[in-house]
Amino acid sequence: MDEVLAPVPGKITKLLVKPGDNVQEDDQILLLEAMKMENPIFATSNGKIKEIRVKEGQDVDVDQVLLVIE
C-alpha cells in the first residue's frame, strides 16, 4: 500500500489513470496545477491503482492523499 500525496496545494486538472490500472514507479498518473503551472505527478511505486480519492477540477491541499497504489 502506497499513498500518493499532493506535494503542494493546487488543483487536479487531469487524471491519467483509473482504478485497476497497473503502473510503474515514475509513470505519470495525474496533472496538478499549482502557481499557474501544470505539473505531472508520478507514481511512487510499482503496483495497481487501488483507489483514486480526487476528481478532476478538485482543489487539494498539501499532503492530501490523491490515490492509493497497492
Binding site: 506535494p7 503542494v8 515514475d26 499549482a34 502557481m35 499557474k36 503551472m37 505539473n39 505531472p40 508520478f42 511512487t44 498539501v62
Partner: protein, 382 residues
Amino acid sequence: MLEAILNGLGGLIAGFQALALDWRSMVMLIVGGILLYLGIKKDCEPLLLVPIGFGCILVNVPLTDLMAKDGFLRIIYDAGVDTELFPLLIFIGIGAMTDFGPVLAQPSIFLLGAAGQFGIFLTLLLALFFGFTKLEAVSIGIIGACDGPTAIYVTSKYAPHLLGAVSVAAYSYMALVPVIQPPIMRAMTTQAERQTVMKYTARPVSKTTKMLFPLVITVLGGLIAPKGLPLLGTIMLGNLMRESGVVSRLTKASENEIANVVTLFLGLCIGATMSGAAFLRPQTLIILGLGFLAICLDTVCGVLFAKGMRVLSGGKINPLIGAAGISAFPMAARVVQREGFKYNKKSFLLMQAMGANAGGQIGSVIAAAVMLSVLAGMGVIS
C-alpha cells in the same frame, strides 16, 4: 510642365534612393523583421517584441521624421520614457500580479532573491573595465536584474542613448532564461544535490502580514534607498491593492488595461530608439555580450548561495532553487521545477522556487534602488 511631373514622380522613389545609400537603415529594417519573426513565429515575448520590432521598422524608413521633433513616436517617447513614467506604470501592474505569499511563508528563501542580483554588480565592474562611463555601466549592469522595467527606468534616466541596446538585451535574455540557465545549473551542482527532495512546509500567511509587507518594504526601502522609491513604491502600491482585496477594479485595471496600453507604447518607443546610427555600433555588441554574462553570473551566484544554505541546513536545500532568485517571473521558477523533475521524479521544487523568484523580483528593484542611492551618495548622479 513635363519636368515638374518627372520631379514629382522622382519624389516617390527618393525613399528607395536614400535606403540604397544607407546600409544602416537597411540592416535595421532586417533587425526589426527578425524581432517580429521571433515574437510572432517563435512566441518569444510577443507582447514586447511585436511593438519593439515594428517601432524599429518605423524609425528606420528613410526620409521620415517619426522620431524628429513633433514626430508621433517622439511625442510618446518624451511623454512616457523620457519622464520614466511608463516603467513605473508597468510596475504598478507587476505589483498587482505578484503573490508574495511564497516568500513570506518561507522567509529564508527570500535571501536567494538577493543572491541572484550579484550579477548586476559584477557586470557593472566589467562594463567599467570596457571603458563605459559610470552611468552607462550602471545601465548595463542592471540588465543583470533580468527585469525589463527596472532596466528601462534606470537607462532612460542615466544613459538614454543606450536604451535600445539595453532593453533589447534585457528582454531577449529574459525570454532565453529557459535556455541559458539549465546548463549552468547542471555544471554547478552534483547529481546528489540535484536529486534532493525538499518538503514544502510553508506555514499559512495571514492577510494582515500580506498587507503590512508592501507598506513596510515601501517605507523601509525608501528610507534606505530614497532614489529607488519610485520603483519600490509603485510595485508595492500594486501589491497592496491586490492584497487588500477592496479595490479589485483598480487592481484589474493596473494588471490589464494600464499595463497593456503602456506595454504597447513602451515597446514602440524602445523600437524607435533603434535607429541605425544609434544601434549599429560596436558598443551594442559589447552590451549584448555583457548582458548575457550578467544573467549567467546571476545564476552562478544564486546557485552558489543556495549551496551555502544547503551546507548550513544540513543538506535539506536543493541548490537548483538558487537559480530562481532572479526577477524573470515566473519563468525562472518553472525552469527550476522542470530541471528538478529531470533528476528526481519525486522532487517538487515549485513552491520554493516561486518564493525565490518573487524574492528576486523585489531583490532586483532593491538592488537598483541601492545602487542609485549609493551613486547619489558618491555624487555621480544628482
